[in-house]
């Protein structure tokens, strides 16, 4: 593979890291993404998901969306600190994984929880703010998933692509608000996610070099 320059960081990575990435990093990331899903399916089949499995699946896929989104947003600060340029390709992988879990989360809500009852779903989205915000978060992730390819980076140009992909922070914010408002009383868990994202936002602001907009 030819040396690639990330429009977001300007860091160049070389061929020599490719075998390492291919052999260790990618399989590890695939495992990270696939194992939660496998675990959910196994628990579902074995009836280990508890009394309300639909709710459990919604909560689990929602959590993994936020976790993977946080992981993808952690990549750039990590590159800034470590200068491991090869990480940049993993950012796309993690971002797409987050989007996949979000899509699964939404699919379960639409197809299982509400069994495709369009009027119920529309009413829920319009009337109940935590659903509205969650839906917004998903919608914001769609253009990011679509434009995640090399072709789109070229077509948009690095700067515009970077600007567009700042939407990831908005999507993360929507995801956190969605979680906070969904919880009845004990906000400890959603607040932990908020704390992680706030830290990631702060790292980006701190890591930004003067005069350069990344």
């Amino acid at each position: 593979m030819a040396p690639a320059a990330s429009p977001a960081t300007g860091v160049t990575w070389r061929d020599r890291s490719a075998p390492f990435v291919k052999r260790w990093v990618r399989p590890a990331l695939w495992a990270l993404v696939i194992l939660p899903l496998v675990s959910m399916v196994v628990r579902l089949v074995l009836s280990q998901l508890g009394a309300n499995p639909i709710e459990d699946l919604e909560h689990e896929t929602g959590r993994w969306t936020l976790r993977l989104l946080a992981s993808s947003l952690a990549v750039t600060p990590l590159i800034t600190f470590t200068r491991w340029g090869w990480l940049i390709a993993q950012r796309r992988f993690l971002g797409l994984a987050a989007f996949s879990y979000a899509a699964l989360h939404l699919s379960i809500y639409i197809g299982v929880d509400n069994f495709f009852n369009v009027s119920d779903i529309v009413e829920d989205v319009l009337k109940h703010l935590y659903i509205t915000v969650g839906m917004l978060g998903f919608v914001l992730m769609v253009p990011l998933a679509i434009t995640s390819t090399k072709g789109w980076i070229k077509q948009l140009g690095g700067k515009r692509w970077t600007q567009l992909h700042r939407l990831a922070y908005l999507a993360a914010t929507a995801g956190c608000v969605h979680f906070l408002w969904a919880v009845k009383k004990d906000k400890t868990e959603p607040l932990l996610y908020v704390a992680v994202f706030v830290m990631l936002f702060a790292l980006r602001v701190v890591g930004r070099k003067p005069g350069r907009h990344t």
Binding site: L44, G50, A51, E55, D124, H128
Partner: protein
Amino acid sequence: MFYSRPAARSPTSIARAMLIRRPDDLKSSEITPQSLYVDRRQFVGAAGALALGALVAPGVLGASPLGTAASGSRRQDDKITSEEDATSYNNYYEFGTDKEEPKELAKNFKTKPWNIEIAGMVKAPRTMSFDDLFRALPVQDKIFRHRCVEAWSMVIPWQGTPLKDIIARCEPLPGAKFVEFTTLFDPRRMPGQARPALPWPYKEALRMDEAMNPLALLATGMYGKPLPNQNGAPVRLVVPWKYGFKGIKGIVKIRFTDQMPKTTWNDIASAEYGFYANVNPAVDHPRWSQAKERRIGQFLKIPTLPFNGYAEQVASMYAGMDLRKNY
């Protein structure tokens, strides 16, 4: 609308004293007549079970125990929830805010001895032991729908004593208008109370006429066994026409008053949880719909009924009240 079996036809009444004192003496088959469970039994259709696959809790036998009242085909849906589900999916923040936590964290909770304080506007304020308070009162079997404010529901076979019988024993003064219940506060025994998840102790209350309604039950058992710790042992309130949070657990105090008492959820979020908390599909929780509910163990959501399907027995108590304001 509900299924009530007179105590005389049930060995449970004989069993409660024994149940509480020596639960090991009794097999569950001796406590609850099998007919209670096999009456009009319906099996989950094989096709339906296949279609729903693993989403349906396995081994749930159907029964439609809630009588044959006229309010539509809904009766067919009222199958008793599996005991496993009803005892492992609990909102009991005194033992953790996750629904799976209470079963684990309440495992070693001791409910003997247990005293209940009778306080406020009564002839003689006093503290009674659990055994004395319930002594010689017949145990009744009541199968009620249970609707949580979170839009899930169950059908649970309770054993207990109508609240009105206990109130009679408390001898409230004629001026008493409300009855308030308080849960035990003891963070060493109730680990969830170590954190301020709610303002402790938990309190709930009913208007006097609600408390005297024959449907209001003080439950001391379920599924023919003593009440499990995670479900509110040794005694909890069951008000089937109201959202589940009115069903206060682990009761240590019953107080009579002429002022509307502060109740826990109403106190911390009055826009979301009212004092009355009558099940009402027409009034949404501000954050989610109350029009439908997920019956635990079933796949498709079902419509929620006004007063949880007990309108015939309770609606008259609220005649003339604006139920949108008094949610």
